[in-house]
Amino acid sequence: MTPIELHPRGQLSEAVLDRLQHGADHGPHGEDLLRVTTQQVAASSDLLRDDDVQFALFLLQASHYGSLEGLDPHLEWDPLLITVRRHIEDAFEAQLRHEVRVPELPAPNSAAVAKVLFEMTAPEAGPSLARYVAKQASREQAEELLKQRSIYTLREADAHSWAIPRLRGRAKAALVEIQSDEYGGGRPERLHAEIFAETLRSAGLDDRYGAYADAVPAITLASFTMMTMFGLNRRLVGASVGHLAAFEMTSSIPSRFIADGLRRLGYGERTTAYFDEHVEADAVHEQIAAHDLAGSLAEDRPDLLPDIIFGAAACLTVDGWAGSHLLETWERGASSLRERVLA
């Protein structure tokens, strides 16, 4: 099989990829890389939809996950690359804090926090990506959805696992209860990421991580780089918890729609199993996440309450934008994937 090729999307991702793949002696040195970083970030009017910046951040975070082949593990803690990642993440976070609308904060008790989270994530009746897939998506569009989802789902749950050592007591136990189920409860074949890999294979798609990294647009990467940023930075542990809660609380019903859509298109159980599994799994996880994880954390660490709600709102906002991108491109008969621009 040919190795996965990754193509830079601009000056910054080119410099970052070069250094991660070929070592510290390659690509622009110190001051030059920092200058490119500040220039590209400053020049961007929208970091969430900036292909060069998002791809650079995706690569820098992949170095911590160990998810992409060919990135030098010795550079995981390279001070220069850490500085670059922090610069991008600080600007990214600032944009999110500016654009994401957060509801009035509830009282810092479990019942009030769970109530607000359920209100924020209440199912809406209008058009949605999942309903479109259920009723009218073509086979080609279903494949696009699976490719778009592969960025997160082949690493499902990992982004929030960074939060485990940063929590204590009830919230930690609740997060581990959820993550244990995500990771198959001791059975490798039940790992959600593995169930999704089987979905990809059964649909004739590539199940290797990063196979579709070149194909997805910045907003899809942003959904993933945001949750990774929340997980990787200890100061954002509240946002990571809120993000997971909102994520789990908006998964069960849409998963049913998507499974129905795949069945309508003639896909078999190997393809639908991942989504069928999430109908049941996330109906469990959402209760634990709202009450035992986010609710308990707000009681035990009231100082984190604003970030818990911010993380939940950021999840809903950014994943909403990513979903709208698919829906809007499909509705005008276009592809949601990038046309590969080869130099």
């Binding site: 009746a125 189920d181 019903i253 109908v279 049941e280 109906a283 009450h291 609710g295 308990s296």
Partner: protein, 100 residues
Amino acid sequence: MTEPHLTITAYPDGPLIVRGALELRTIGGEPIRVTRRTVALCRCGLSTIKPFCDGTHKISGFRTDDAGTDDAGTDDAGTDETGTDETGTDETGVHGRSSP
């Protein structure tokens, strides 16, 4: 382990969450396959994957009387008898959603 073998927690406006060694059966005594350590059992009666919860209660507006007195996580012994009788709810609203 000196913990109870099984706990059932009644989550406000939601399912019964069961933790522990569990054997689920049909009325005919056939085992119902349980694939996870923590399961959610449908309490609103509208799930499409009964006896498990599928989140449909959120669409139907299912309410339990204990909403707002959430002690989940600290009071998970006991049964679902504390004011969570299903007779108080009906199916109004469920057909408002767009699934077939």
